[in-house]
């Protein structure tokens, strides 16, 4: 609430009127306090992404801190989703997409030739914009990951994993009597929580969320946001969102992207109350985007 008020104030403030197109990305200082989370789980340095000839992301350096929720905001087409998808190499599936720079997890470059994407994606899970449960039963949806990775020794283990995952995703009470029903028969918000349960069933360390609430109504959105907050104790979460309120509500740190540049990153409160960069200020005050 505080932040929302502050945003309104910022909107009113007289000195944010001149929209100069100064456009100087923060690309300095590897390890500067601005970039560095206190306890980084993933470190990205000078990441560039190209779609064929198009240079989509320019020299982004960003750390994802342990057990934090980092929100990535910015106008459409600013590259925040592209950047997010670099973190578990989902961009590999896009033809003509090329990534340079360094993205490390456990001191290992994930774009190194020796890295296998299968375990990487088990370690860095993902939840997508549109709820995309498999056209299978609720149980099979959650059990799929543990099954393919061989995480459960027997049926009892698997049942347990499914139950705890659904509980962590706050869906257990609603579906425990109909685990054999198709996952696609759930409501949109339930489907998205099912997808979150599916992602956490393989116990990833990092969960990437690409606008997880954009297809949901406000009540379902509130449920998911609550859930994200709860999940923070066990997982590191990077979330891309179009809703600044959402970023303000769920995240500890916020990164602002603009036309493929990382403009500013900092504590969420600071970004929303006292942005250092003109573009950030214009965006959060609703001047564009």
């Amino acid at each position: 609430m505080d932040i929302a008020m502050n945003t309104t104030e910022a909107l009113m403030s007289p000195d944010s009127t001149d929209a100069t197109s100064v456009h100087k990305p923060v690309r300095d200082a590897v390890g500067s306090p601005l970039l560095d989370a206190t306890d980084a789980r993933m470190t990205c340095r000078n990441v560039n992404v190209y779609y064929g000839e198009k240079h989509a992301i320019h020299d982004v350096s960003l750390d994802i801190g342990k057990n934090e929720v980092i929100a990535m905001i910015g106008p459409s087409g600013c590259g925040k989703s592209t950047f997010l998808r670099c973190l578990n190499r989902m961009n590999d599936t896009i033809e003509g997409c090329r990534v340079s720079g360094q993205i490390q997890i456990d001191d290992q470059d994930i774009y190194d030739k020796s890295i296998d994407v299968v375990p990487l994606r088990a370690q860095v899970g993902m939840v997508f914009q549109k709820p995309n449960p498999f056209p299978k039963s609720i149980f099979d949806n959650v059990a799929y990951g543990p099954r393919i990775h061989g995480l459960a020794g027997n049926r009892t283990d698997l049942d347990e994993i499914v139950e705890t995952s659904l509980q962590k995703a706050g869906l257990w009470e609603e579906v425990k009597d109909r685990l054999d029903q198709p996952g696609t028969g759930l409501s949109g918000g339930q489907q998205q929580r099912l997808c979150i349960a599916r992602a956490i069933a393989v116990s990833p360390e990092v969960i990437l969320m690409d606008e997880p609430c954009s297809a949901l109504d406000p009540i379902a959105t509130a449920r998911i946001e609550e859930l994200i907050d709860e999940l923070r104790s066990n997982f590191t979460i990077a979330i891309v969102t179009h809703s600044m309120q959402q970023a303000a509500r769920v995240s500890q740190r916020t990164a602002y992207f603009h036309l493929g540049d990382l403009i500013e990153v900092g504590a969420t409160e600071q970004i929303f109350t006292n942005p250092t960069h003109k573009l950030t200020e214009d965006y959060i005050t609703g001047r564009f985007g």
Binding site: M126, V127, F128, N132, P133, Y144, I148, C195, A199, V202
Partner: protein
Amino acid sequence: MSNNESMNRVRAGLARRYATERRFRMYGVLAILMSLFFLVLLFTTIIGNGYTAFLQTHIKLDITFDQALLDPSGKGDLAEISRTGDFNGVVKAALREAFPEVTKRGDRKSLYNLASGGAGFELRDMLMADPSLMGKTVSVWLTADDEIDMFMKGHIDRDVPEDDRRVKDLTIEWVDRLLAEDRLEKQFNTTFFTAGDSRDAEQSGIWGAAVGSFYTLIVTLLLSFPIGVAAAIYLEEFAPTNRFTDFIEVNINNLAAVPSIVFGLLGLAVFISFFGMPRSAPLVGGLVLTLMTLPTIIIASRAALKSVPPSIREAALGIGASKMQMVFHHVLPLAMPGMLTGAIIGMAQALGESAPLLMIGMVAFIVDIPGGVFDPSTVLPVQIYLWADSPERAFVERTSAAIMVLLAFLVVMNALAVMLRKRFEKRW
């Protein structure tokens, strides 16, 4: 332009717009009516010509299984009797007995023609099934000759002058007498559904061709579906996009448009001449039809794979499925209905194909029911072609009846396709 004025313009144009729409709808209705009309025309012609083939005139004779004719040596060896017994002599004797007044040589010859030339084989099969009949006299319904059959079915008009008529006055007299004695009647034509081809129209059946079609299609399905689906999966999911795969794609699309007879020539040159495979065999037919069906299946399967929403792929990859797992656990099951539809369309095409099979010798006259994929055989459409080419009047109705059987085959296959689709279809 004021609001009012623009509204007036809109209103002025409305009538014209609606008229266009009405006209377009009328064209649509007309098109549907036309196609319905042609469909009805087609079916009435075929069924009207063909339904009589399901009945066949039979003649009841008192047959004496005369040992003197069938087993002159008296050894009672069934194999010997089957080979050398004069069963036609038995039929002739029975006819002579039924019409004792016919004594002239020429008249007797016409008399013998009342029964089918294959009637002796029917008696042989009876005796082989029940050897105790030897020496006994029994009443037997034997197949009548096809011309008697045609006369019974009204295809030969008795008012036509005798010289222009295939069935002579004398024979008509006999037929009337047999009818009066209830010794001549139309019965369900089991021969048509159990026999292979024959020179005698009344002894010919569709079963040989149906079995040949079945074996050919089995070979086609077993080869083209796995190969087609595997090729589609590779091209769609795994192959890199480069000039080589583009080239392959263009060629597959072109292959779908190649006239089927070309595939027949290819089969003749490659499978028969080069690899020395047997001529007229369903195996070679199946291989040729596989070549013809593959492009259809590949194109349909690729379209089915393309239509699987990318979100499902991302979901699978996002939790660490390998590409192979993604394809086989998620994409393939969702694409299956489309692939099956493609396969069935391809198979239906293959079922109706005759041109390439002419090239590899499946047009041969084959009496025996094929027992496997290496036996010489023919297929339904080629059988239809062969019968349509035969001069006997009785083959006309058989041609139409064979078309009905082929259509029934197609309907069953399409029903199967719809069923499989419903079964595999899942919503996402």
